[in-house]
């Protein structure tokens, strides 16, 4: 199982703060995002935007191989401070 979290404006657009998907061998971050984008038009357009990704609470900029039980997060550019 992969747990996926969404934050801030993305969470609001999707009306979803977290979901879980089954892990499949060889799954990557890009595959996961692709699958989510195919859910419907709202998910497609929301996830096509300028987003950051984190795997196991660490920012990732390139495609990453996922392993079962990982936590993935998608969110807009951060605006703290």
């Amino acid at each position: 199982m992969i747990r996926i979290l969404f934050f801030a404006s993305l969470r609001e657009r999707l009306k979803c703060e977290s979901i879980e998907v089954d892990y499949e061998s060889g799954l990557t971050l890009f595959d996961l995002k692709d699958t989510l984008m195919q859910k419907d038009e709202i998910w497609h357009s929301a996830l096509s935007g300028n987003l950051l990704s984190a795997v196991e609470q660490e920012m990732v900029v390139e495609n990453t191989k996922l392993t079962d039980g990982m936590e993935v997060a998608f969110f807009p550019p951060v605006t703290g401070g």
Binding site: L5, F7, A8, S9, A54, Q57, E58, M59, E71, A73, F75, P76, P77, V78, T79, G80, G81
Partner: protein, 148 residues
Amino acid sequence: MIRVSEQDFVVADEYQALINDNASDGAVVFFVGLVRDFNQGNNVSELYLEHYPAMTQKVLCEIVEQSKRRWNLGRVRVYHRVGHLSINDQIVFVGVSSRHRDDSFRAAQYIMDFLKTEAPFWKKETVNKNISRWVESEIKDYSARDSW
């Protein structure tokens, strides 16, 4: 010390914690970020700060560790607030002590520049009394980070 909390902080207490029983450091630099009443072209009345708790602590620790590797620092304190804030409320405290002032000045700026672009906090502001909008990230913040 790194802390993320809905509770406000007291600058005097944070400063005291940097200097208490600290005979080796001759410099303290601190920065306090506040809620401004005007942002990106609109009057702001309130601010809400969301974060990704499990990641925030990790990222802030990593930024502080990086700063300690780059400069000769004594103590570092980072306090960031989340939740509902009003105009003029304190948002963030970054305090650094070091033997000499140059290290503290640079490290405080470095920590803020990375916090602004890498720590998972998001601001939602209420503008013109009743419209809520998520604050957009700014290119100048990335330029500041990339200058290191």
